[in-house]
């Protein structure tokens, strides 16, 4: 286990970080929490010539509510997501997802921006952030831009970040009244294991508290990138929230998913688990929506 030598930078400003990143292009790696990067350096999967540690850049961490939106800094730790009151109350699926990420030691170090930029198909925080319609903000040589998170991933380990671009923050609209959400994940080992499937769902009910007005079903680990089960979402809208309609949407979600077979499980098992955990997540989210009057 040998880490190849590299140059190391600790920029103090975002602009400085971005221009260093731009200058070295694909030979540079960004260090935030480091929980993933260090493993890849040790295993020689990555051999960057330059490592840019952005932990000293001000303004990149924190959880704040501003103008009806939640703003999450890219360096916010997974542990902070897990334990933040405002997230637990308004974005419970995100807090639940955070609680499943790695071990407690990892959660103190790992960052939400790192989890998203790594773009693992099974990334713990991606499904809930997408289910909450997160907008992702990037800063680069051409200034700031933003995108819906669902447009951020381009493949396993791939994102739309351009050279020199650094993810800076997420913005999530505070959910409407009568909204409920939930996150579930299934793995072979109870914890400390990659998910067979992870699911975040969000439901918003109509004023009658029965009809589904909005629905989000986001699946992880069963496609090259985290994905909306769009057809399943559509099936729910305008329907009364019943177990039957949930089961039907879950079946559709399973059909939409594109799982692979690997040493953990076969495609067939993953698809069956998409159906089961979509249904279970919807069942868990519904009473939460009904409570939020």
């Amino acid at each position: 286990m040998t880490i190849y030598p590299f140059e190391y930078f600790e920029p103090k400003e975002l602009e400085e970080a971005s221009s260093a990143f731009f200058e070295h292009g694909s030979e540079a790696a960004i260090l935030a929490g480091g929980t993933d990067l260090l493993n890849m350096l040790k295993a020689n999967i990555l051999k960057p010539k330059v490592v840019i540690n952005i932990k000293g850049v001000p303004g990149l961490s924190g959880i704040e509510e501003i103008d009806g939106e939640l703003q999450l800094g890219t360096l916010t730790s997974i542990h902070d997501l897990e334990t933040s009151k405002i997230i637990q109350e308004n974005f419970p699926a995100l807090s639940e997802a955070a609680s499943f990420l790695g071990s407690i030691q990892i959660r103190f170090l790992a960052t939400v921006g790192g989890n998203i930029c790594r773009a693992a198909p099974s990334a713990e925080t991606a499904p809930p952030l997408m289910a909450y319609d997160a907008q992702v903000y990037m800063y680069g040589p051409n200034g700031e831009r933003s995108l819906p998170l669902k447009e951020f991933f381009s493949g396993p380990g791939q994102t739309v970040l351009a050279e020199g671009e650094i993810l800076t923050k997420f913005k999530l609209p505070i959910p409407a009244l009568r909204s409920g959400s939930a996150y579930l994940r299934h793995s072979i080992r109870q914890l400390m294991d990659l998910a067979i499937v992870n699911v975040a769902v969000s439901l918003t009910l109509d004023e009658d508290s029965e009809t589904i007005k909005e629905a989000r079903i986001v699946l992880g680990a069963v496609a090259p990138t985290p994905m909306h089960a769009s057809a399943a979402e559509k099936e729910l809208i305008g329907k009364p929230a019943t177990l039957e309609i949930f089961e039907k949407a879950a079946q559709t979600a399973a059909q939409e998913s594109k799982p692979i077979s690997d040493v953990r499980s076969t495609q067939d098992y993953r698809r069956a688990m998409v159906q089961l955990f979509t249904r279970r997540a919807l069942e868990k989210a519904l009473p939460r929506a009904a409570q939020k009057n």
């Binding site: 286990m1 080992r189 109870q190 400390m192 294991d193 040493v263 953990r264 076969t266 069956a272 089961l276």
Partner: protein
């Protein structure tokens, strides 16, 4: 006051929890150089050429050693079939072949770990690939590709038991149960991957300091490969980070010795250090044997088991290692600790291009017990009989003639462990025999809402396991005791070569030495874990160390006290304990006296199964283990709990995947061992103490025994919960869901 039976605090506890204790990887010597071993990386091939020029051209590379540098290029505990280094140029026939991905091809010594790694990448090996044999059933066929062209077959060992008239007994049986069982490979995943140092000591001996299980065996293997007399080789075992059988065979030992020795010949006298990564460790050492066991048992309607016909096939992997003995155990244990008058067993150990199989806690016992106990539980179902009652009707006792046409050593307590475990798990022995009461307090009831998709069940199994080396092996253990003082004994010094692999052996040695000399424990000093100046004390394996070391310490203590009474000062005595002789299987009938002592165990397990995901959750375990005499009860409980945890991984989680000889699970992120959330919520250890006739102070070995009945007990519990028998494990969620027909 006797210290036996007291939970003396472990003598190694403070050093280990404070980090003061040095494991081999923690030890650094002045001016040390670093070693890396180049693995073959392919499962079956002939090495045509090896070009080391680019590697050797690096400034900081000190040396590269190949097969031609090994004087006697072979090792192996039972058959010397494994080259130290694979490649052309040695006298060992066919040593230019690689037979599994972890075969060692080159040893690089350099000024840094990084340079050694870089040099390995620069070594050009030209391979000619051979067909890969990965399925033992294919490997057994007559036209199979031979791993060793100088052998007639890939079957390197076979045993046969034939007692009574099996076919007649089947014809007369009321019930017959037949199944084909498959058990998985398992990785030891001990805490400390292989690491160590090789150097020339102050007396000029080629020395390695490593974690091992049997210093004298390692000394012997090194001396043989280097062509040196034994006393020019020394093996030291500093603190050892777990073993479980995984350090029974050689890994880095011979390479370290070779490098230190060859460098000295070149006038370079420098210590050599190596630390394997977890991935190197997983590829580089042997695994638990995968088995295919085809088993047919017959019984009368009264539950009298009359016949067993079993075929046992062990995937030995690329080299024999300890397979011959592991297969012997499975041959013996596949018919269980039961009175079966008609038995036929045919067993085969087979080479494949998988990672070699070898020693792992239980040593063939868990696989044999899985088949035997599942057959018992299936028979109980077929007969409509309680599984405890069926066992009690067939349980082996002192006068029972076993499959080997011999009785077990006196003091068989299988009925006692079954009884204790069954009573604790809610059974009682009434007019209708053993039955479980519906009102049982075990397992604890769920309070609150229960979910429809969670099903609960319980299972029961028992087992026997030999203590010490079997089948005629010249079993022995040496100890030396010095008694110092004038009018009274002021100091006792124990010399012993037995290894403490983490199980607490040295703490127990101290208690036994104090008892043997009749002094308080703080008067005992110990000189341990170094082959120098010591005779062979045997391996820390086969649940033998407390038993064998205890007898040697007791014998040396008695002899030293005799000298003390004769006023010798200091009084010094050595003693080599040799247990009652054993004999190998007769070739056609298996007739033998295979073992001199056994331990007995029974377990009850409660599980819950999520029938929607297939997830098995092990709730509660009761283990009754006859240990003869508990020298240190806390350590005994620790061994029972540890065995249950390790067996939990084996049964429901650990899935070692090899495809065409390639390991698909070389990381601990893909080969999943249990965390605290995956192991039973509770283990109740019932320690029974029925003394063994030849054990020191009555001691029986115990460290493997709780492992054996665990998998079959879980299988029975899952059957109880969801109505499906599984003949293959681990019970991953997917396997369970497929068993339920849900996917």
């Amino acid at each position: 006051m006797s210290l036996l039976g007291k939970s003396l605090t472990r003598i190694d506890a403070l050093g280990k929890v404070t980090g003061e204790t040095l494991y081999p990887g923690d030890i650094n010597m002045p001016d040390q150089a670093y070693m890396k071993i180049l693995f073959a990386g392919r499962p079956h091939a002939i090495i045509k050429t090896i070009d080391t020029s680019a590697a050797e051209a690096l400034d900081a590379v000190i040396a590269v050693f190949l097969a031609k540098d090994v004087p006697v290029n072979e090792y192996g505990m039972m058959l010397k079939d494994q080259p130290v280094l694979c490649g052309p140029g040695s006298e060992k026939p066919f040593a230019e072949r690689v037979r599994f991905v972890g075969d060692q091809v080159a040893v690089v010594v350099a000024e840094s770990v990084a340079i050694a790694a870089q040099a390995c990448e620069l070594i050009q090996v030209e391979f000619a690939d051979l067909p890969v044999v990965s399925d033992p059933l294919v490997s057994m066929q007559e036209d199979a590709e031979l791993l060793f062209p100088d052998k007639e077959s890939n079957v390197f060992i076979d045993y046969h038991i034939l007692r009574g008239d099996v076919e007649k007994a089947f014809a007369e049986a009321d019930v017959v149960v037949e199944s084909e069982y498959r058990t998985p490979a398992q990785e030891h995943a001990f805490l400390a991957p292989e690491s160590g140092l090789g150097y020339i000591d102050e007396d000029g001996r080629v020395t390695v300091a490593v974690a091992g299980q049997w210093a004298h065996e390692e000394q012997d293997a090194i001396a043989h490969a280097l062509g040196l007399p034994l006393d020019e080789v020394r093996v030291i075992h500093p603190a050892i980070g777990g073993a479980f059988g995984g350090r029974e065979d050689m890994s880095i030992q011979i390479a370290l010795a070779l490098a230190a020795w060859r460098l000295q010949q070149r006038g370079i006298n420098r210590p050599i250090k190596i630390i394997w990564s977890r991935e190197e460790s997983i590829i580089g050492h042997h695994k638990r044997h995968p088995y295919i066991i085809r088993s047919r048992w017959g019984a009368t309607k009264d539950g009298d088991i009359t016949a067993a016909d079993v075929e046992v096939i062990a995937d030995g992997g690329a080299y024999a290692c300890t397979s011959t003995k592991v297969l012997g155990n499975a041959t013996l244990m596949c018919t269980g600790p039961y009175d079966i008058p008609n038995v036929k067993v045919d067993s085969y150990g087979v080479y494949t291009n998988n990672i070699p199989s070898g020693a792992f806690r239980g040593f063939g016992g868990p696989q044999g017990a899985f088949a035997a106990e599942t057959q018992m539980n299936k028979l109980a179902q077929e007969l409509g009989m309680d599984p405890v009652e069926l066992r009690m009707r067939n349980v082996a006792q002192d006068d029972t003639v076993m499959s080997t046409n011999s009785t077990l050593p006196k003091g068989v307590t299988l009925d006692k462990v079954i009884e204790s475990c069954a009573l604790a798990a809610g059974w009682n022995n009434g007019i209708a025999g053993w039955q479980r009461s519906g009102e049982s307090a075990w397992p604890p009831k769920i309070t609150g809402k229960t979910k429809n998709h969670i099903k609960r069940g319980i299972g029961f199994a028992a087992a026997f396991k030999n203590i010490g080396f079997s089948f005629g092996y010249p079993e022995r253990s040496w100890a030396k005791i010095e008694l110092h003082g004038e009018t009274e004994i002021e100091k006792v010094v124990l010399h012993h070569a037995g290894s403490d692999v983490g199980q607490g052996a040295h703490t127990v040695f101290k208690q036994m030495a104090a008892e043997a000399a009749g002094v308080p424990v703080d008067k005992v000093e110990m000189r341990l874990a170094d082959s120098a100046g010591k005779e062979d004390s045997g391996s820390a394996s086969a649940s033998r160390m407390t038993f064998m070391a205890g007898n040697s310490i007791k014998g040396a203590g008695e002899a030293a006290l005799e000298k003390w009474r004769n006023e010798e000062r200091p009084a010094i005595a050595e003693f080599t304990y040799r247990p009652p002789a054993t004999t190998p299987f007769a070739p056609k009938t298996g007739e033998s006296n295979p073992n001199f002592a056994y331990g007995y165990v029974a377990e009850a397990v409660a599980v819950e199964v999520d029938v929607e995901t297939g997830h098995v959750n092990i709730l509660d375990v009761i283990c009754a283990n006859d240990v003869g005499k508990a020298i240190n009860p806390q350590q005994i409980t620790g061994q029972i709990e540890g065995a249950v945890v390790q067996a939990s991984g084996y049964t429901i989680l650990e899935n070692f995947v090899q495809q065409d000889g390639i390991v698909k699970t070389p990381h601990l992120s893909t080969y999943l061992i249990p965390t605290v959330l995956d192991v039973p919520d509770r283990v109740e250890s019932i320690i029974l103490e029925y003394p063994d006739e030849v054990g020191p102070w009555g001691v029986r070995g115990m460290a493997e025994m709780p492992y054996l009945p665990f998998a079959p007990a879980v299988i029975a519990a899952v059957k109880d919960a969801i109505g499906v028998w599984f003949d293959e494990f681990p019970l991953t969620p997917e396997r369970v869901l497929r068993g339920l027909g849900e996917i």
